[in-house]
């Protein structure tokens, strides 16, 4: 059996009066692509933000590489973050920096003693991997939505993460660019041997990129399994309607 890299047990999180996660249990295994599906506001992004220590859970545990995230001090948390790449929904590129500076920013601050040549080579290599070598000196404002997503992925890959977290990677993109991004997610796994969590409500993205699906409803995972297991034999009407809406079936 593959090595377990993430173990979540009884995870709860509320924002004021709003209960978002209400006892989430989940395991993530090495080199698998897990897709987390759910409605907007169901707490999908909250889950991965807890994983990188951007948010703290109210109860339950989140072990990543055997370490309980909420108990790490800032130094330990940063060591863990180096192993996790987070691709944001809106790409979150630093808009006052060029593409090259965006990729350089985490690299020069976390990997010491790199020469200028090595930095340049690494940046060019990654931009080649995401198919955008020509954008190296462009500003984020000059890029299209799909290009921004790709550069965002390249920036996370620059620190050679072991886990990739994709927050709504295809949101707001046209169908062709969505397919490009889906292929990129699969290529990243092949090339960099990463374990991934893809947060989405796009079932095409889920089907193309996911080994396993987990559907988040009422703050808990209601259905976990392969695409067919989750949707072909869905008992919950809301899971069924999720499928029907995405594939226009009734």
């Amino acid at each position: 059996m593959a090595e377990k890299v993430v173990e979540i047990r009884g995870l709860k999180k509320s924002f004021g009066d709003l209960k978002v996660l209400q006892g989430v249990d989940l395991d993530l295994f090495k080199e698998e692509n897990l897709v987390v599906l759910g409605k907007s506001g169901s707490g999908k992004s909250v889950l991965i933000k807890i994983m990188v220590g951007l948010l703290k859970q109210d109860a339950g545990t989140m072990h990543v590489f055997g370490k309980e995230v909420s108990r790490l001090n800032s130094k330990q948390l940063n060591e863990l973050r180096l192993k996790i790449g987070f691709s944001f929904q809106n790409s979150a590129l630093y808009d006052s920096m060029t593409v090259k500076e965006n990729l350089e920013f985490p690299l020069v601050r976390n990997v010491k003693n790199l020469t200028k040549g090595e930095i340049q080579k690494k940046i060019e290599g990654l931009l080649d991997s995401v198919g955008l070598p020509q954008t190296i000196n462009q500003m984020p404002s000059e890029l299209s939505g799909g290009q921004k997503k790709r550069i965002g992925v390249a920036r996370t890959l620059i620190l050679d993460p072991e886990i990739m977290l994709y927050d709504e990677p295809t949101a707001g993109l046209d169908p062709i660019t969505c397919m490009d991004i889906n292929n990129l997610i699969n290529e990243v796994r092949e090339q960099f041997k990463t374990t991934s969590i893809v947060i989405t409500h796009d079932l095409t993205c889920a089907k193309v990129t996911g080994d396993r699906m987990a559907v988040l409803l009422d703050g808990q995972f209601k259905a976990v399994g392969s695409f067919n297991e989750v949707f072909a034999h869905a008992d919950d009407q809301r899971v069924k309607s999720f499928y029907d809406y995405n594939f226009i079936e009734s």
Binding site: S14, G16, D17, L18, K19, V20, Q22, G41, S42, G43, K49, V52, L54, N78, E79, R81, L82, I84, F86, F88, Q89, N90, A92, L93, Y94, D95, S96, F105, P106, R109, N110, R155, T156, L159, D218, G219
Partner: protein, 265 residues
């Protein structure tokens, strides 16, 4: 569907609760600045970049304002002094007014409007577009890169801008005095330097340091804690200016009391 949890009762009324929570937050922000400023890694390159943006890019506006302040203040003071046959005291009066109060105050208020709002809006927009989160998850310290560098830059650059404004305002005043009273440049500046003391310069620098720190820390705090999308960014920029200006006047008053007490010793 997410459920509502049990309602938490505020300790006092909601507004008072919010006010004190805000004060505590602001205090923790300032404390964090002083903790981070001395710890490596140091972002020297970014400090220099911010000094350039805050200092050099403010020069045209500061020059124009300082020059006009010098001319206008001289023009407005002349009739009153002339009434007592004391128009020859104009350089002394102007120098004391400019160095002690108007130079630091005018520069700080302009910088609060120009620099404070730009810091608040820039950091606020980075916050709502998750750029700050992106820095954090890539194991870098956004506070050090965004806050420490900007606060250092405003703290260093405002005193320099104040000295520059003093000079430009005095030059404006000289042009006015020269065209009306035919006083030479050397005579004008001899009178200027005879009128101001070391304490005036020291208090001006101290005030400018305080003003610079205030503009930087308030802009960063408001930006760093902005929320609610673009509306929040606008509010952050706006409140950065309003709060900075309010604090600048309070600080001016406090420093004035301290300097007057020293002068009276």
């Amino acid at each position: 569907m997410a459920e509502k949890s049990d309602e938490r009762k505020p300790l006092l009324s909601k507004k008072i609760d919010k006010f004190f929570t805000g004060l505590a937050d602001a205090w923790n922000f300032v404390r964090r600045f002083f903790q981070e400023v001395f710890l490596p890694p140091y972002e020297f390159k970014e400090v220099v970049h911010q000094c350039y943006r805050i200092g050099v890019e403010s020069l045209p506006l500061i020059s124009l304002t300082g020059f006009i302040v010098g001319i206008v203040f001289t023009n407005q003071s002349r009739p009153s002094l002339s009434e007592f046959g004391a128009s020859s005291w104009l350089p002394s009066l102007i120098s004391i007014a400019v160095v002690r109060a108007m130079g630091p105050l005018v520069t700080a208020l302009i910088a609060a409007g120009k620099v404070g709002s730009s810091i608040g809006a820039e950091i606020g927009s980075m916050k709502v577009t998750e750029q700050i989160d992106a820095m954090e998850v890539s194991a870098t310290n956004p506070f050090k890169f965004l806050v420490v560098t900007r606060v250092l830059a405003t703290t260093f650059m405002i005193p320099i801008l104040v000295m520059y404004t003093d000079f430009v305002a005095l030059m404006g005043s000289f042009l006015n005095v020269n065209s009306n009273e035919l006083v030479s440049l050397s005579t004008f500046f001899v009178q200027v330097f005879e009128s101001i003391s070391f304490l005036d310069i020291w208090s001006s620098v101290l005030k400018s340091l305080l003003f610079g720190f205030t503009i930087g820390i308030v802009g960063c705090y408001k930006g760093y804690n902005s929320s609610k999308g673009t509306e929040g960014v606008g509010r952050a920029a706006n409140s950065a200016v309003v709060i900075s200006m309010f604090l600048i006047f309070i600080e001016e008053l406090l420093v004035l009391q301290v300097v007057n007490a020293i002068r009276g010793m």
